[in-house]
Subunit: 345 residues, 2 copies
């Protein structure tokens, strides 16, 4: 019998495979010319994310080009504040902008309805699942509460200093906001799993710069609460947590959050990854996206080094951050071929 359980799910179940499954954060998107063409057909980025046909096509584009072992639904972490009633838009060439933060009562009042407002993402997942080979996995995702809160509080992407100051000066208000986000995010992930996502990823893109006590309060606790709620809803899809920039706090995270997979960023050491593997965790990571962009013999050498250092335990080959828009496609193709031994799926 042919093994059709996707490699990604086997790795997340703790199996050590002959070679790690591979996918890249932002494998869909601006690095692909066919994406840029598709994107030009939608009036704005939010409309694009909420258009199941276009979002499914964007999700599948890299799956046709590269022998990736997993697709990740094309969406955005700011769909949650949008669904909770905060205005969200994207300024071309500048990034996201958010309107004034609604009151906590107003946000809380929208939680139940928010998931239905993101039904388009579920529809995207169903379409992708129907178009994807059975041995390639489909990942759903959400932004984690603290990261999403930084955007909600600051109104844009930033160095997040204002949000970190808020965490000290208004701890009760922040905790209340995080609680609302925990609830909305858990519901959103459950919806995605029911719509066809076989694994779920929680992106804490801005875990950096937090002292351990604050990290436990605003990262670990909300992540653990989301996992608990998702499991309580009967969803068994494995979950990957990504506390990007957490440094040594990744181990604090691993102790406190019962996720199957822990995604590591570019600074992950060989030793840190091995300690997590030895504890039965599947790790994911952590090629430098700048090196993927730069290419050359240094890229090949680092890929080999990663394959060597983490090949002894369950892991998923990925970047430490997303593919940069100006990354040459041939660097992606070459790297995925080096990991998989395949030029095409």
């Amino acid at each position: 019998m042919i093994q059709t359980t996707p490699k990604l799910l086997r790795a997340l179940a703790g199996e050590t495979l002959e070679r790690p499954p591979v996918w890249f954060m932002r494998q869909a998107g601006r690095s692909l010319p066919e994406y840029r063409e598709l994107r030009a057909r939608a009036p704005d980025f939010i409309a694009f994310c909420l258009h199941p046909e276009m979002a499914a096509e964007a999700t599948l584009q890299p799956m046709r080009r590269f022998p990736m072992d997993a697709a990740i639904v094309f969406a955005d972490i700011l769909l949650i504040p949008l669904a909770l009633g905060q205005k969200v838009w994207f300024e071309a060439g500048e990034g996201p902008r958010l309107g004034p933060l609604p009151t906590i009562e107003a946000l809380r009042g929208e939680v139940e309805a928010s998931t239905g407002r993101l039904a388009a993402v579920g529809e995207t997942l169903s379409r992708v699942r129907a178009g994807l080979e059975p041995d390639r996995a489909l990942i759903g995702f959400a932004g984690a509460p603290w990261t999403v809160a930084t955007y909600m509080l600051e109104g844009r992407g930033s160095e997040r200093e204002a949000a970190r100051i808020y965490a000290y000066e208004h701890p009760d208000e922040l905790d209340a906001l995080l609680d609302v986000l925990v609830d909305a995010t858990a519901r959103y992930l459950v919806m995605q799993a029911k719509a066809g996502a076989q694994a779920l990823k929680l992106f804490e893109s801005w875990a950096e710069g937090l002292s351990e006590d604050v990290f436990e309060r605003i990262v670990v606790r909300p992540h653990a609460a989301i996992v608990e709620k998702v499991r309580a809803a009967g969803v068994t899809a494995p979950i990957i947590g990504f506390p990007r920039g957490a440094g040594a706090e990744v181990e604090t995270y691993a102790e406190g959050v019962p996720v199957e997979g822990i995604a590591l960023d570019v600074q992950a050491t060989a030793a840190l990854g091995r300690r997590l593997q030895a504890q039965g965790r599947c790790i994911q990571g952590a090629l430098d996206n700048l090196l993927l962009r730069a290419g050359g013999p240094a890229l090949d050498a680092r890929v080999d080094q990663l394959l060597e250092q983490w090949g002894q335990g369950p892991w998923i080959f990925n970047l430490g951050h997303g593919v940069m828009p100006d990354t040459p496609i041939e660097h992606i193709a070459r790297t995925v071929e080096r990991v998989t031994g395949k030029a095409r799926w």
Copy 2:
């Protein structure tokens, strides 16, 4: 006989004391009104740093206000490129600017002369030592090669992406630049020790965002080379290495760099610090400078937590980053009193 060996030096020698010695990065400078008054008397920041009388006064100002256990010479990490012949100036309210990068040959040709051009820093140290109680330590410092190189390459403070790309695309050129900086920095630190510095600190302010292989090449190797050169010159003053933002790579650093002290940033976990202490290292850190600024019961609670978690091994109480200019002086005073039990020296 009264013990007059400064507590800071005893901690760096591996002693566990009743309470940790304390000093704060940027304890001198813009958070103090007397500094702002003094600074206004110099035409520009570089002239101020190279004016021994004014720089010594700036160094001593926080020592009069607070019962700090150590003074750190008032200077700047960009004095090294200046002494090597690259133009350096400070734009008011914007930060440092550097002129075009000289050729590697030109820089190399200036190494021997560079230390003499920084004789004013030695004079500052001698003046401070003469004005400081014998049981308070005096620290000299330099910026570490990679951090200084990022400014030299980019011409200003930045997100350092261009420098990290340079590290991949021009490894040989970068290594040559780092070698020049290793040589100039070692000579500069030796000069400072001879002028009265009893401990030396190497600031790698921008260790973040580097993958482990690159971190070993551009942080660990140059730091180890500097330590070796300083020791070869007969200097026995303990050295504190500060790979800020290194996350879990702090342990890679500790394995490769034989410094007596390892300064930790705000993200240091209790466990990481304890592992280093168990290996006989003196650690330093790591109160959040944003929390020092915010103040209140959360500040007191975190100070107590740090005293509790690291009190079992040799350590130095400090921040994870420098004092912010708008930090209320009473927050600094209150925190230092909480650590030392003393309101005044």
